[in-house]
């Protein structure tokens, strides 16, 4: 491989622009946007007085009831799709050119189960694979550990050694498919395994296409899967970034994720703000590592939630594109148009699905999927109606996929780009949510940047507050969940749900025992020692060392332990 170009390698608070000028930049955005959002609308005021209040027999309304052109002005740039700042979509013809990718996330049981599911999907024309791993894999716990008991294969497929990845991808042409892996704390290990499987089959790594989620900041903020303190994980992200920029032109090294932030209870504005702030941090890291912004920014993609509040969600997606393009150009000096375009995958909200009357979830998912499409998503996963109860059955997963097909083929929605654009209310909301995000950027930089804020628990507390407030509104009946706090039913008939047998656990343990018997223990320790040395050097790139370790069939737990020895562990700050 080409030697990684490593300049300044720090992953902490270094910035492209000094903190003071960044703060000034955010403040100027806040000032400009708040003028647009908060200004009085004289036409409304007079209509309210002359028409609305008499109609309501003298009562004023709690909130604004209608929006006009005076509320929706924005001076952000050309108002056309495929043009900066891409509020209306990143392609000129949007879905009329190419519909969104229906990327359904799957993975369960043992590697053989997932291998046959992937082959089934490929046979039916899917080229984008998306793999879910189980909790032991996500937490770097070997399948024979006591800790993993009862959890093998439950929420995704189990991977303990390279052997498992060889089975998952057996017979799958790695140079022809693109593989998305939802993996975060152990991302570098699974990345190394994917490369190792290809190399062992004689496929050059430069031909591998795919996406790693890898976004560790949102783990500290929301999903809470980590091994080490933040800086150690960030260094691994930097290493993967450098390695793929230098060796793997078709590899997206990070998918900056708001989904988990939202599902952990944040508001839409918080989801947007914290996710983009994370994204800017990764840009800072790439620049600090000596890369030019346009060399790596085009490979950063995003992942957002699509939840129940229709206009707020569509506005969020539009604001996300506008903010990313604007900041990348104005603050980071990106010139390549691909660096400015925010590409995103969306998933319908799991939180909004109810355990009660689960068939209602089909309606919720359909609506949320529609919002993601109206918001211009590049790919979409729709949840299954039974997912509040268990992993989906095949029948339920099929309804979820069909829901996307109904939206794509029956509604006429593909014909026009950004069909909601120009709605006074939506344009106003887009401005407002953009303003809220800039306010958070300002706040985060006042706290010393997103990394410092995360280490101190600030976003975590904001989310816990929002989540508790929402729960209280539900308890008070102010926020409605049909079937939960309104229109409840007694004695609901149960639906069929998927049951994962313990066979997976036994099979995985057996395979691991075989691997351990046949591997060269001396080679395993040598590889782990070399990895330990590399971890101690801040400038080394860890990826080749992890590849060596996985090729020696070191387990995920053994590799993680080396990191824990070097970096220590991380206990989250107090949140409430």
């Amino acid at each position: 491989m080409a030697a990684p170009r490593v300049g300044s390698t720090a992953v902490g608070g270094e910035r492209q622009a000094p903190a003071s000028s960044r703060l000034k930049y955010w403040r100027s955005k806040v000032a400009r946007l708040s003028k647009a959002v908060d200004s009085r609308n004289e036409a409304y005021d007079s209509w309210e007085k002359r028409v609305l209040i008499p109609w309501q027999k003298g009562l004023a309304s709690a909130g604004r009831l209608v929006y006009t052109s005076a509320d929706s002005a924005h001076d952000g740039g050309a108002d056309m799709p495929g043009m900066y700042p891409f509020t209306r979509g990143i392609y000129p013809n949007m879905y009329a050119g190419k519909p969104w990718t229906m990327r359904m996330f799957s993975g369960f049981g043992i590697p053989e189960d997932t291998n046959s599911r992937l082959k089934y999907l490929l046979k039916h024309g899917e080229t984008g694979l998306s793999i879910a791993f189980d909790e032991p894999t996500l937490y770097g716990v070997d399948c024979d550990s006591e800790r993993a008991e009862g959890e093998i294969g439950k929420c995704g497929v189990n991977v303990t050694t390279l052997k498992d990845m060889e089975v998952i991808f057996d017979g799958i042409p790695l140079d022809k498919v693109s593989t998305s892996m939802t993996i975060n704390a152990p991302a570098i290990i699974l990345f190394a395994m994917y490369i190792a499987v290809a190399q062992k089959r004689g496929i050059n790594q430069s031909r591998l296409a795919g996406t790693l989620q890898a976004d560790i900041l949102k783990e500290y903020i929301a999903q809470k899967e980590w091994f080490y303190p933040p800086k150690a994980h960030l260094r691994m992200i930097r290493d993967m970034m450098l390695y793929s920029v230098n060796n793997m032109p078709k590899w997206n090294f990070i998918s900056v994720s708001g989904y988990h932030i939202r599902e952990a209870g944040s508001t839409a504005a918080q989801e947007l703000a914290f996710t983009l702030a994370d994204g800017f941090h990764y840009v800072d890291m790439g620049i600090a590592a000596g890369l030019k912004v346009d060399d790596f920014a085009p490979r950063i993609s995003f992942f957002f939630d699509s939840s129940m509040d229709m206009f707020e969600e569509i506005a969020k997606f539009r604001a996300a594109r506008r903010i990313w393009a604007t900041v990348m150009r104005e603050l980071y000096g990106a010139k390549d148009e691909r660096s400015l375009k925010l590409r995103f995958h969306a998933q319908t909200s799991g939180y909004t699905l109810t355990w009660q009357q689960p068939l209602n979830n089909i309606a919720r998912t359909a609506l949320e999927a529609l919002y993601a499409v109206l918001g211009g998503a590049q790919s979409l996963h729709t949840n299954s109606y039974d997912e509040a109860l268990a992993l989906p059955t095949e029948a339920a997963a099929k309804v979820a996929l069909r829901t996307q097909q109904v939206i794509a083929e029956e509604t006429g929605i593909k014909d026009v780009a950004d069909p909601m654009g120009g709605s006074y209310y939506l344009e106003y909301l887009t401005n407002r949510i953009e303003l809220e995000a800039y306010r958070y950027f300002e706040k985060l930089d006042e706290l010393g940047g997103i990394l410092k804020a995360v280490e101190d628990g600030y976003p975590q507390r904001e989310i816990a507050d929002a989540s508790y407030q929402r729960q209280r509104r539900i308890e008070a009946g102010e926020a409605v969940m049909v079937g939960v706090n309104k229109y409840q039913e007694e004695d609901e008939a149960p639906i069929n749900i998927l049951k994962i047998s313990r066979k997976a656990e036994l099979a995985q343990k057996r395979r691991l025992a075989d691997v351990k018997r046949s591997r060269d223990e001396a080679e395993v320790s040598r590889a782990l020692d070399r990895l330990r040395e590399a971890m101690r050097s801040e400038t080394a790139n860890l990826v080749p060392h992890v590849i060596d370790a996985v090729k020696a069939y070191a387990t995920i737990g053994e590799i993680v332990k080396v990191g824990r020895d070097v970096y220590g562990e991380w206990k989250e700050p107090r949140i409430i």
Binding site: E135, A148, E151, C155, K224, E225, A388, A390, S467, V484
Partner: protein, 150 residues
């Protein structure tokens, strides 16, 4: 580990002490934080040891902190394994009098088996906080009655 202290309720009896635990290797802690606040607002003392305590650690903390109730949230399908372990460990450590309450993603068909083990509640998503709080109070009162008798 932290302890969130409840408001004083003006009674001489010490507040109910709840250990809130999420033992599975799973970080989805939205529900657990909502419960921590709700219990605290209801005047209880809440002990939340952070993510991923093992069943052994849960039982250790329950004994050290002399809790009335252990409330365990499990979302990832490992409830049958983990609850069984906690119950066995409590008995082995002579702390079988501590009440254990379950919640999370627990399919209805598993509930009778959990109840037989002594794990009550087993609430699914969408359960009103008030229902859970009332149940915690009832179980805690039982525990205290039993402890007074013993």
């Amino acid at each position: 580990m932290f302890m969130a202290s409840g408001k004083s309720r003006g009674s001489s009896e010490r507040p109910i002490r709840v250990l809130l635990a999420k033992p599975a290797i799973d970080g989805h802690d939205r529900g657990v934080y909502v419960l921590a606040r709700a219990f605290r607002d209801a005047g209880m003392e809440v002990i939340y040891p952070g993510l991923l305590p093992t069943p052994e650690q849960i039982v250790d903390i329950a004994i050290d902190e002399d809790v009335d109730v252990i409330a365990i949230s499990l979302l990832n399908g490992s409830h049958m394994t983990i609850f069984k372990k906690v119950m066995e460990l409590l008995r082995a450590r002579h702390a079988g009098d501590v009440a254990v309450i379950g919640g999370g993603i627990i399919p209805p068909r598993d509930r009778p088996r959990l109840e037989r083990m002594g794990v009550t509640g087993n609430y699914g998503p969408g359960t009103p906080l008030e229902t859970i709080i009332t149940h915690v109070r009832e179980r805690a009162a039982e525990v205290r009655r039993r402890r007074r008798v013993a």
